[in-house]
């Protein structure tokens, strides 16, 4: 009997290489878990019987998969079956990773709860009345509920890290440019990054090594230094200089239980030999969110223009071209994409460009510089990933600004293109709390080392209590 709730990808690989289970038995175990739990949790938009002799994997539905419907959680892409594999899907296939299914997401990855999915929300395995976070809530909840050993998500402003925090697993948003975006349904091109959602930091490092690297099909990719998978059990953080941005620690809206768990993790870092000091990112924290909510919608307004009903996906009937365009987009898009298309179109319009998009680009440069200055003194910075634990389904659904605030702590480093790792650091009100580690560009190996050390010392049990 394979306990998919507890089995890490590394352990699954061990079972396979030692011949203790066949790849089909492994796959079937996860399919059985999906059959058992997904009716309640609704993590999968579709199940697949992928090919390969390796470990199963789930992919967020913004990741294009040849021959497998890819909707990005939107009605406007219902029925769209890609004719090509995204680079990350192809790299997973090349390593034998076998596709279990496509996971739920907020429509076009726009959201922090998966409630914006056109196909209904996913539920948090720790408490199904609560959200799993978003946009990649389907991937995070599937991994937490033992329905996939690991998964890929995509992160624009926190869509990997925040759900990982809310579901008690490990989420890596890699340095912008290390993972190809080719074949990923675009939300905001200068921010989108694909990354792993796993149970452990070692699994995260391994899956990152599978997907990272320059891709001729994505001109914004760069050469990636060899990935160092941390030694099992190594907890030594000696020599690491860790900064705690006070604006993030003291931000309004941080729940006391979250603040306590993070404070305990900070103390633990010092016990493990790291030097921990306060630092400041005043402008990044104050202006990160407004900067993001100009740049991301501006790019989205352009990226989503291709969904016009002419070539693929949903098309509404109409007597002339303009009517077809208007009805297709009116009926095909949900409220959140429409809201962001409107925001972005406005921010790019003649007469407003300089005041909004232009200004946001200047602020972005300022945020990049502010982070660079901090990383002259520190190897990493540390904060909570999300100000709160998982919130009840519906609690923020009618208040977009409250929903946007879910990403307050994840957004600054996303805007700066920096890598961030979220690991679980404890429970508050019986729900997981995420700890965010952020480093300078291409510092993934440092994040893995520190994350693994903390993970070992924290001893967090990633299986949701109600499923143990």
């Amino acid at each position: 009997m394979i306990d998919t709730l507890r089995l890490t990808a590394e352990e699954a690989n061990g079972l396979l290489t030692r011949g203790e289970v066949s790849s089909q038995e492994l796959f079937d175990a996860y399919r059985a878990a999906i059959d058992e739990r997904d009716e309640e949790l609704h993590c999968f938009l579709r199940r697949c019987d992928g090919e390969g002799e390796g470990i199963p994997i789930a992919l967020k539905d913004v990741i294009g998969t040849k021959g497998v419907e890819t909707t990005a959680g939107s009605k406007i892409l219902a029925g769209y079956v890609p004719v090509y594999d995204s680079t990350v899907a192809a790299r997973c296939k090349a390593r034998g990773l076998r596709l279990l299914g496509k996971t739920n997401t907020d429509e076009f990855a726009m959201g922090s709860s998966t409630e914006n999915s056109a196909f209904g929300p996913s539920h948090n395995p720790w408490d199904p009345t609560r959200v799993p976070g978003g946009s990649g809530g389907g991937s995070a909840a599937a991994v937490a509920a033992g329905m996939a050993p690991w998964a890929l998500g995509s992160d624009t402003g926190g869509s990997i890290k925040q759900p990982a925090a809310l579901c008690g697993n490990v989420g890596l948003r890699p340095t912008y440019g290390t993972v190809s975006r080719y074949g990923i349904v675009a939300f905001a091109s200068s921010l989108d990054q694909v990354g792993p959602v796993t149970k452990t930091v070692r699994d995260s490092a391994f899956l990152y090594s599978v997907i990272a690297g320059r891709d001729p099909a994505d001109s914004t990719t760069v050469d990636v230094p060899p990935v160092e998978i941390p030694e099992p059990g190594a907890t030594d953080l000696k020599g690491l200089r860790i900064g705690v941005p006070v604006e993030m620690r003291d931000a309004a809206g941080i729940e006391p239980g979250v603040a306590d768990a993070v404070a305990r993790a900070i103390a633990l870092c010092e016990e493990l030999g790291a030097e921990v000091e306060e630092c400041t990112l005043p402008r990044s924290v104050e202006y990160g969110l407004p900067c993001y909510y100009l740049i991301a919608p501006a790019e989205a307004s352009s990226n989503l223009a291709r969904y016009d009903g002419v070539r693929y996906g949903f098309r509404a009937a109409g007597d002339d071209l303009t009517t077809v365009y208007e009805r297709t987009r009116d009926e095909g898009f949900g409220d959140e994409p429409k809201r962001r298309i409107m925001l972005g179109t406005y921010a790019l319009s003649a007469g407003y460009y300089e005041a909004f998009y232009g200004k946001a680009q200047q602020v972005r440069t300022m945020i990049i510089r502010e982070h660079a200055a901090v990383f002259e003194r520190f190897d990493l910075i540390l904060s909570a990933t999300s100000p709160t634990v998982a919130f009840p389904i519906g609690a923020r659904a009618d208040d977009p600004l409250a929903m946007y605030a879910s990403d307050l702590l994840t957004i600054p480093s996303c805007v700066a293109g920096l890598p961030g790792l979220s690991i679980p650091c404890g429970l508050s009100e019986g729900l997981p709390v995420g700890l965010q580690l952020v480093g300078p560009q291409l510092s993934e190996n440092t994040l893995f080392r520190a994350g693994h050390g903390l993970e070992q010392a924290l001893g967090f049990d990633f299986v949701p209590e109600r499923l143990r």
């Binding site: 294009g64 090509y84 099909a217 001109s219 989503l304 223009a305 016009d308 070539r311 319009s349 003649a350």
Partner: protein
């Protein structure tokens, strides 16, 4: 009209003949079945990303160097956002405030030489082709259906924008001929208006002669030859002068020129706003050409047509040099001159003989030097075979024309005797009949007579008292 002068600037679009498209690896070119040269990138499937074509970037730099532009240290692709079915992404990737080539000047030689400046030259992708079916007119209005062929979509396109330095339709035509020849000489495009690989819009205004103001302009589109561009400019200038002289104002408009009626009709624009919401294309990194690359490309430039015209003008005069270069006969001319043919003779030979591409010009030069002694047949067959393997002038040089006057004189006399009416008419002043007599003598000799000798003999006889 004397009191007014035209102020014209041109926007020229040139299809680059790269093997593949601007941002994907689909092949370019005409003639394939509709929508067979497409891929996820040029069909704008979700997740597809552009990758800039290096050759297209290098060729645009070459063009910039040829027209004296400064090559930007950092050029940025930008998205131009608008909805239309031939624009599958909902935006065209173009360049906006940071184009690859900035400024430039071209001196146009000629009897009345002039100079003109460039604003910029930038790289972008072409739209797909829309075909309107039904409704009879082939136009969108009234059509039953519109079909889209994405084969053309994504073809690399260079847009060249001139300063408003052109003062007449004639200058516009001459500039376009020279620019076209420059593009052809660079080997970057066929630049054929009839195939759509070169397109040109004109911005036209008028002003009181000698003033330096810039008045409201009209944009003229859809002109499919240099001649029609000239006539369109003339029509716009005439109309604007009429308006001003009648006390009316000129309002900004876009027109199509209708060559059949020589009139301007309002252009039916795409249903789109004017606000393209340009912003830097986040899917592409900026183009930052290394100085070494620019210098390498500069070193690869051929002799430019404007320079060639000036150089050939010393021997031929500027108008003949212009004709030689802008009809692409200069390479043949140079080959013949190198082969020892006198310049004027080489010019006549190159302009009058259909010399095939790849001709062995060294051998053909031997033929050209003996041309006047060869039969017409020998000459035309030598020219036609001059690109063949093993082409040798010696095979043709023996086929000389009959120039022996003692042999030709009786034939000439016979022809004149047989046509007394025409002889009388000629002597009465109908000079043009000379050709008739030459033709008759040629017929008698089966084309083997030396035309020059026959001409001389005929004149002598006809003009004898």
């Amino acid at each position: 009209m004397r009191d007014w002068e035209a102020v014209v600037g041109l926007e020229i679009h040139v299809h680059l003949k790269t093997r593949t498209k601007m941002f994907c690896r689909c092949e370019t070119g005409f003639g394939a079945d509709p929508n067979t040269r497409t891929c996820p990138v040029c069909l704008a499937h979700p997740g597809a990303l552009p990758v800039a074509n290096r050759t297209a970037v290098e060729w645009t730099i070459k063009l910039g160097l040829a027209i004296g532009s400064e090559i930007a240290e950092r050029a940025v692709f930008a998205r131009k956002n608008y909805f239309y079915p031939d624009n599958p992404k909902g935006y065209q990737i173009s360049q906006y405030d940071q184009p690859l080539c900035v400024g430039g000047r071209l001196a146009v030689p000629g009897g009345a030489p002039f100079e003109l400046g460039f604003v910029r030259a930038h790289l972008e992708e072409d739209a797909a082709k829309t075909v309107h079916v039904g409704g009879g007119t082939g136009r969108k209005i009234g059509a039953e259906r519109s079909l889209i062929d994405f084969n053309r979509g994504g073809t690399p396109l260079v847009e060249i924008v001139t300063q408003p330095d052109i003062r007449s339709a004639e200058q516009a035509e001459r500039f376009l001929q020279l620019l076209r020849q420059t593009i052809v000489a660079l080997g970057i495009s066929d630049a054929r208006m009839e195939e759509g690989t070169l397109r040109c819009d004109a911005n036209v205004s008028v002003r009181p002669a000698g003033s330096d103001e810039l008045r409201t302009r009209w944009e003229l589109k859809n002109m499919n030859s240099f001649r029609f561009i000239g006539r369109g400019i003339d029509a716009a200038v005439r109309r604007q002068v009429e308006l001003y002289e009648s006390g009316a104002a000129v309002e900004q408009h876009t027109y199509d020129y209708e060559p059949n009626t020589d009139t301007l009709t309002p252009h039916r624009s795409k249903e789109e706003a004017d606000d393209y919401r340009y912003f830097p294309e986040p899917d592409l990194v900026p183009v930052e050409p290394e100085p070494a690359l620019v210098e390498r490309l500069r070193g690869e430039l051929p002799e430019l047509p404007a320079d060639a015209i000036r150089a050939r003008a010393e021997a031929l005069g500027v108008e003949d040099a212009w004709a030689l270069v802008t009809t692409d006969r200069d390479p043949a001319y140079r080959g013949l001159v190198t082969g020892g043919v006198a310049e004027r003779e080489a010019f006549n030979f190159a302009m009058n003989q259909p010399i095939p591409a790849g001709a062995n010009l060294a051998e053909l030069a031997k033929v050209a030097k003996a041309a006047k002694d060869l039969t017409r047949e020998a000459l035309s067959s030598a020219v036609a075979s001059s690109a063949d393997d093993g082409f040798a002038a010696d095979d043709y040089l023996a086929q000389t024309a009959v120039s022996d006057t003692s042999e030709l004189e009786p034939l000439v006399e016979a022809v004149l005797a047989a046509n007394p009416g025409q002889v009388e008419a000629y002597r009465g002043g109908k000079d043009g009949l000379l050709g008739f007599f030459v033709g008759q003598v040629m017929k008698e000799t089966g084309g083997k007579a030396n035309a020059k000798v026959v001409n001389e003999l005929l004149r002598e006889k006809l003009e004898a008292p």
